[in-house]
């Protein structure tokens, strides 16, 4: 277990970034971007998740194989959930006109 001590400055920085992104999410929701509404919202959410995973969960500094394995399989499992659900959502109304 390699303990990596990060400065509290960095933590506050990340926290502020997360707060700013939250405000941006709320702000963007009031503007109609057409088909980009969902895309922008998801992009912001994903970058917030990345910040949390990389810094708060120390993944950026880990050399631990087990940790990487857990993260990769979590992402893979999320893709399973999305992909197999899309077999339904992608074709549910096909043929219903």
């Amino acid at each position: 277990m390699s303990e990596h001590i990060l400065s509290s400055k960095l933590y506050y920085g990340i926290w502020i970034a997360l707060m700013v992104l939250t405000v941006v999410t709320a702000g963007v929701a009031t503007i109609d971007l057409g088909p980009f509404n969902t895309i922008v919202a998801l992009l912001i959410a994903t970058s917030k998740a990345l910040l949390v995973i990389l810094f708060f969960m120390h993944v950026k500094y880990t050399s631990e194989k087990l940790t990487k394995m857990v993260i990769i399989s979590s992402i893979f499992w999320l893709l399973l959930l999305l992909f197999l659900s899309l077999t339904d959502y992608g074709t549910r109304y096909a043929g219903h006109g």
Binding site: L66, S74, W77, L81, L84, T87, D88, G90, R92, Y93
Partner: protein, 544 residues
């Protein structure tokens, strides 16, 4: 009783410290296992009580014992208690907790305090569920289906949902602990290919707990949000999609069946070689089929939604994938059977439960194939056929394995032997009672009796009476082991460290084990299940 005096003087995990504090603040995985044992037994009898009330109502065609509303609450509470407070924790939290470190030659789990935390979370969730129960209960079914749960029912959905949410975290922590322990704490020489199959099964189970449970937790939070804040996520009137709930819910809840059954398979894989005096047939195939079940288990969830309105294309994909899960399950059944072939089989109590498991699990699994088939599923969806099918898996399979494991490792846990003839008798009662309860339900379902109704047409009565009669026999079979286990703690014969002549590191330390499991860290130089090198104990030989 000179021997008794000597053995009780030896220090072990049970007599090292005394008093309530030493139990409630313990970080010893063996003591936490016993805390879990007591708590899940409590919930098992609560869930069983609801089951008996359900069966009593269904004794007669008319809805005479309880009203429809009460009946809805009865089957909901039965399902929630049995699934989230008994079956999910059962083998992992009790036997897994007790045995995983010991089987790999470790002193404890990787995170002993997180282990204790997981028990406290379980207890908090349990208290919430009990409170929910006595203040009115829930009537959504254990599945929390929307939009009924978010927009219509006025029962305690929020409290039940949050209770299951907390119980989920308890389960995640157990899985996390096992994964890290199995990766990091194996004794020298305990390579992956030498691990007992019980460990492989628990590793696979932990994968599901870690990757599936968060989805359930998020889904329940969304249900609570929709109900409390009126967000439109699942309710079509508010722009949501009720099928989205079912997708998310079953993404966890189908694999959850494997959280219940995989550990039981691990137990059977320990019992069968021991009482056949043979190395397990096809070690690698059995080990990898556990992982295959865990992974494939995540690819089949929408078979619960064939008639719910998903696209036909999607239904076909999920139907094919559902057939796929049968392959690793069949591999296991064939390998256990092949292990017994030309073995010297002893019909001891744990082995009787293993036999029961293999037979009943096979029946549950094969009827699962009926349900994976789109055409048949349309006919039997939401009938007693489904109820019978999943009880064959979850009670005939998972509970049989749990009881088999409890008997197999009871001498290790308590240091005492239970009365063998009573054990065999109870195993027989359980098997008979189980089949009498649930086999008629296959026929009822096929004839068209829907599930979750408190009354039914008179022509179904004979089969329902059989089922109710069976449930009372089953109840006797479940109470008996509890009685003689308790009796044996005081009056049972003293067990030596390896009463069955079993392979595995847990049998190389004293019964009950010392607090840190081994006097010195063992070094493993042999393959798992080396029964050709272990003589069978005389007592077991006589019983053949």
């Amino acid at each position: 009783m000179a021997t008794a005096a000597i053995t009780t003087e030896r220090e072990h995990y049970l007599n090292k410290e005394y008093g309530i504090r030493s139990w409630l603040l313990t970080t010893d995985h063996k003591r936490i296992a016993l805390l879990y044992l007591i708590s899940i037994t409590f919930f098992f009898f609560i869930g069983g009580f609801f089951a008996l009330l359900i069966r009593l109502e269904l004794l007669t065609p008319a809805g005479d014992l309880v009203q429809a509303d009460t009946y809805n609450k009865l089957f909901t509470m039965h399902g929630m208690v049995m699934i989230f407070f008994f079956l999910i924790p059962s083998i992992p939290a009790v036997l897994g907790n007790f045995l995983v470190p010991m089987m790999i030659g470790a002193k404890d789990l990787a995170f002993p305090r997180i282990n204790l935390l997981s028990w406290y979370l379980y207890i908090i969730a349990g208290i919430m569920m009990l409170h929910c129960m006595v203040t009115g209960g829930v009537d959504t079914g254990w599945t929390f289906y929307t939009p009924f749960s978010t927009a219509f029912t006025n029962t305690k959905v929020i409290e039940a949902g949050l209770s299951v949410f907390v119980a989920g975290f308890s389960s995640i922590l157990t899985g996390l602990n096992f994964v890290v322990t199995i990766h990091r704490m194996r004794a020298p020489g305990m390579t992956w290919s030498r691990l007992p199959l019980f460990i492989w099964a628990h590793y696979a189970t932990s994968i599901i707990q870690l990757l599936g449970t968060p989805v359930l937790a998020v889904t329940l939070v969304l249900v609570v949000c929709e109900r409390v804040l009126g967000l439109g996520i699942f309710d079509p009137n508010r722009g949501g999609d009720p099928l989205l709930f079912q997708h998310l819910f079953w993404f966890y809840s189908h694999p959850a069946v494997y959280i219940m059954i995989l550990p039981s398979m691990g137990v059977v894989a320990e019992i069968v070689p021991c009482f056949s005096r043979k190395r397990i047939f096809g070690y690698q195939a059995v080990a990898l089929s556990s992982i295959a079940i865990a992974v494939f288990g995540f690819l089949v969830w929408a078979h619960h939604m064939f008639v719910a309105g998903i696209s036909l294309y999607s239904a076909m994909i999920f139907s094919i994938l559902s057939y796929l899960v049968a392959v690793p399950s069949a591999i296991k059944v064939f390998n256990w059977t092949a292990t017994m072939y030309k073995g010297s089989v002893t019909f001891s109590t744990p082995m009787l439960y293993a036999f029961g498991f293999i037979g009943l699990f096979t029946m549950g699994g094969l009827t699962g194939l009926f349900l994976a088939c789109l055409g048949i599923d349309v006919h039997v969806t939401d009938t007693y056929f489904v109820v019978a099918h999943f009880h064959y898996i979850m009670v005939g399979g998972a509970v049989m394995g749990y009881l088999g494991g409890m008997h197999f490792w009871w001498p290790k846990i308590s240091g005492r032997l239970y009365p063998e003839w009573l054990g065999k008798f109870a195993a027989l009662i359980v098997f008979l009672g189980f089949n009498l309860t649930f086999f008629p339900q296959f026929i009822l379902g096929y004839l068209g009796m829907p599930r979750r109704y408190w009354q039914y047409p008179a022509e179904f009565q004979v089969l329902n009476v059989m089922s109710t009669a069976g449930s009372t026999i089953l109840a006797v079979g479940y109470v008996l082991p509890m009685v003689y286990f308790l009796w044996s703690m005081r009056y049972g014969k003293i067990a030596d460290e390896n009463p069955w002549g079993a392979a595995g590191l847990e049998w190389k330390t004293a019964s009950p084990p010392p607090t840190f499991n081994f006097e010195e860290t063992p070094e493993v130089t042999w393959e798992a299940y080396n029964y050709d090198q272990i003589p069978a104990p005389a007592e077991v030989l006589i019983e053949r």
